[in-house]
């Protein structure tokens, strides 16, 4: 009954989406009356999808093997947490989570965006209903998560062991909240294009959603990067894998949108551009979903793929993105240009930010799809890897980071360059660090060294907007900006330092032997068998020391029974100045074991920086929400 209840909720929600669509875009007599009913419908629809998702999590929690999805992806011996999170560790459940967040986003617009004019809100909810309807149809007709299995299976096939990790609990939902949260910006942009009201009120209505989605995307990407780093045992934190790029592209678009939306909100400029970015951001989310779900690109994320479903998804994608940009092509010409601004002004700096981000987005996009275009055109097979992305996008990203030092110091409209003098100190520090890096570090190319210099400069410059302000009176959103920009400096420093200073040792050693990696002396003590709830493992004991004190690391080679899979579980020791990363490999015939050891200085800064960037976003969102709430109360 649980599964049927979930299925019924999905069908009901789909029916409501049709109604929503009809009310929002139907005959004009209907539309004038639609504002209130459409809002209520959106809210109920959101609750129904949430209910369906809860039912799916429940059947997974119970390991109800009469549900095909559970039988194929779960197992009774799995730890509780992974049973529940396993609900979205497969295609159908993952799509249901996607749709659930889409439904909740629709409900959230209906509840929170009441200050927007009624027509635009109704049109936006209509657009959201149209989006939801397509994905409901996709779920119900080709990916039903609640389908039954008769007779029930005796035991489930189990979850891919690489997914049996706290990362599964955190990474997909945050990323999806980010991906699908951008649908709100998309729908609002479509609504505003239909009614022709692209103005600062729209920007203010859109901003919290963009900010919220962007925070989630930032967290999701950061968490995913760390998960891949420790789980896959390659010791890298970004692989320029197509699916990673698929999450980076919406983030780049959302970051650009986040900045251009401020121009629209404060100065009523960049109208068409902001609307286009809002559409691009969510289009990139859909492209990302498509790339992951269809498996058209070779990727480490090549689980749960199905080309047939890919066809349906592609049709949906082409329809939504295509219609949105047809609308843009037809309507954006009618939008008047906003007020003009000077070359030295905050607007201009933000335009620079947008241009750089868009170009980086283009670079990632082309790099990701280039092999596909080439093969379609000439039949030649090739792959585009890190050298391209680093060489082409890297310098632009550094330019952007320099611009981040400058932009916040400029005034709106026509800024005097007066405050720019404050940059003298950070610039000097940055140049010094760059010089030291060039002299003291023989390894690594020019890019990471420049990165270190820029990071040093930004780490000070990020705080300059606070100079001369009363700190307690400074709005939270300004603090948010400062923290996020400082986070960029931290992440950049981590990327640059770990790229240049990482020490890697790949060796075969007998228990009792010692290995030196970077400043660490590692004693290989023993290899012993051990076991967990649904795996057995060989576990090495490594005693690492540098100078004083001993840290014990226990990397494992695990054997999962259901399904039978071997995985490596790296063991990582985190200290202030970096991480020692150890992997146990295969035994050789002569009693030696393969060991892979890395010393990665400052690598943790990458994810710390990511977390700071997200925290900055959260401060800004919280500050704006608080101010909005207080203003509301004063009335």
């Amino acid at each position: 009954m649980i599964a049927e209840a979930g299925l019924a909720a999905l069908w009901l929600a789909a029916a409501l989406a049709i109604l929503q669509l009809f009310l929002a875009f139907g005959p004009s007599r209907v539309r004038t009356l639609a504002a209130e009913p459409v809002r209520s419908i959106a809210i109920v629809e959101g609750l129904l999808t949430l209910f369906a998702m809860a039912m799916l999590m429940w059947v997974f929690e119970r390991t109800d093997l009469s549900v095909i999805l559970v039988a194929e992806n779960s197992h009774s011996a799995k730890p509780w947490l992974y049973k529940v999170a396993g609900a979205w560790g497969n295609h159908e459940g993952s799509m249901l989570l996607w749709v659930t967040i889409l439904g909740l986003a629709g409900a959230a617009i209906a509840i929170f965006s009441r200050r927007l004019d009624k027509k635009t809100l109704t049109a936006a909810l209509g657009a959201q209903g149209a989006l939801a309807l397509g994905f409901f149809a996709f779920l119900l007709l080709s990916s039903n998560p609640f389908a039954r299995l008769d007779p029930p299976a005796f035991e489930g096939r189990g979850l891919n062991p690489l997914l049996q990790d706290p990362g599964l609990v955190f990474h997909p939902p945050t990323l999806y909240f980010g991906y699908v949260g951008l649908s709100v910006a998309f729908s609002l942009a479509v609504g505003a294009l239909i009614t022709g009201r692209v103005d600062s009120a729209l920007a203010k209505a859109m901003r919290p959603w963009v900010l919220g989605a962007w925070i989630m995307l930032t967290l999701g990407i950061t968490a995913g990067s760390y998960w891949a780093y420790y789980e896959l045992g390659w010791g890298g934190w970004w692989f320029w894998d197509p699916v990673e790029n698929a999450s980076l592209m919406p983030w780049l678009a959302a970051t650009a949108l986040l900045h251009s939306i401020n121009v629209l909100a404060a100065r009523d400029s960049l109208r068409a551009w902001t609307v286009m970015l809002a559409m691009i951001a969510f289009s990139m989310s859909m492209v990302g979903t498509f790339l992951v779900r269809s498996g058209v690109l070779t990727s480490v994320h090549a689980f749960a793929v199905d080309p047939k479903r890919g066809t349906v998804l592609l049709a949906l994608l082409a329809f939504y993105v295509g219609s949105a940009f047809v609308l843009f092509a037809l309507r954006s010409g009618k939008l008047s240009e906003g007020p003009r601004f000077e070359l030295v002004s905050r607007e201009a700096a933000l335009v620079g930010n947008n241009l750089l981000l868009t170009v980086i987005l283009g670079i990632v996009f082309i790099g990701t799809l280039y092999p596909l275009f080439v093969e379609a055109a000439t039949g030649a097979k090739l792959s585009v890897g890190a050298p391209y992305f680093n060489a082409v996008a890297g310098p632009l990203a550094l330019m952007l980071a320099v611009l981040v030092c400058v932009g916040p110091l400029l005034n709106w409209k026509a800024g005097s360059g007066e405050k720019l003098k404050r940059l003298a100190v950070p610039a000097l520090v940055g140049a010094t660090v760059l010089l030291i890096a060039i002299v003291a570090i023989p390894e690594g190319g020019a890019l990471p060294k420049a990165g270190l210099g820029v990071a040093a400069m930004l780490s000070i410059a990020a705080f300059l907007p606070l100079l001369g302000r009363k700190l307690r009176r400074t709005p939270l959103s300004t603090w948010g900006m400062v923290v996020a920009h400082f986070g960029i400096a931290v992440a950049l420093a981590g990327m640059a330092a770990s790229t240049m200073l990482t020490k890697e040792v790949l060796t075969a050693a007998r228990p009792g032997e010692q290995v030196q990696v970077g400043p660490w002396l590692i004693e290989f003590e023993s290899v012993t068998p051990t076991a967990g709830p649904n795996w057995t493992a060989l576990e090495a004991e490594l005693r690492a020391s540098r100078g004083s004190g001993v840290t014990v690391l226990r990397p494992q080679a695990r054997y999962y029974t259901s399904p039978p899979t071997e995985t490596t579980e790296s063991a990582i020791a985190t200290v202030l100045s970096g991480q020692l990363y150890t992997v146990l490999g295969k035994p050789a015939e002569d009693g030696r074991w393969q060991l892979r050891l890395w010393w990665k200085p400052f690598v943790t800064f990458i994810w710390l920086g990511g977390a700071l960037i997200a925290l900055g976003g959260a401060l800004s969102l919280g500050g704006r929400a608080w101010r909005g709430w207080r203003r509301e109360r004063e009335r």
Partner: protein, 174 residues
């Protein structure tokens, strides 16, 4: 400038077209050996079993085109492939085997369970010969002509449906 408004739409159309093409032409993930068309790599290998001759580079250039089958006793698809190899042998196709990462006792058991179509079997305990052929897994089969040139690579088990094509390919290689 006005026409720039259509630029995003054009880009969308281009990308969708490329993705449609990809869905219609799924990627071929098999890695073909670069050795096809080349002489077989030089190798020497110990005999796998007493009483069964081993295989070396010279044996593959004895004037007869033949199948070189990489297999292993621990390989489940190889069990499925065994009857098809027997049929090939009945049709007069010479077959030699290379046992990858195997143990003599297991190999003997495998041959007595599933039949032994092989004229010669070489032992490849560390996959060196297999890698030299540019093969990535088992079972995999190469057609080598009478002069020791690799003519064709078949990745995965040979299915009954592949028989006519392979027999013809061996005849052509002759």
């Amino acid at each position: 400038m006005r026409n720039l408004r259509f630029l995003p739409l054009a880009l969308v159309a281009l990308v969708v077209a490329a993705l449609v093409w990809r869905l219609a032409n799924p990627p071929d993930t098999d890695v073909q050996s670069a050795m096809v068309g080349q002489p077989v790599p030089a190798f020497t290998a110990p005999a796998a079993l007493p009483g069964k001759p081993t295989l070396s580079t010279a044996d593959l250039a004895d004037g007869r085109a033949k199948l070189v089958n990489f297999f292993a006793s621990w390989c489940v698809p190889c069990v499925g492939e065994a009857p098809v190899l027997a049929m090939l042998k009945q049709q007069g196709v010479p077959i030699v085997g290379i046992a990858v990462r195997d143990r003599p006792a297991d190999l003997l058991q495998f041959l007595s369970d599933n039949g032994d179509p092989f004229e010669r079997i070489a032992f490849d305990p560390e996959s060196r010969t297999q890698l030299a052929f540019g093969s990535a897994g088992v079972p995999e089969t190469f057609i080598v002509d009478g002069h020791g040139i690799i003519r064709l690579q078949h990745i995965g088990p040979i299915e009954p449906g592949d028989l006519p094509g392979l027999v013809k390919a061996v005849k052509d290689a002759q």
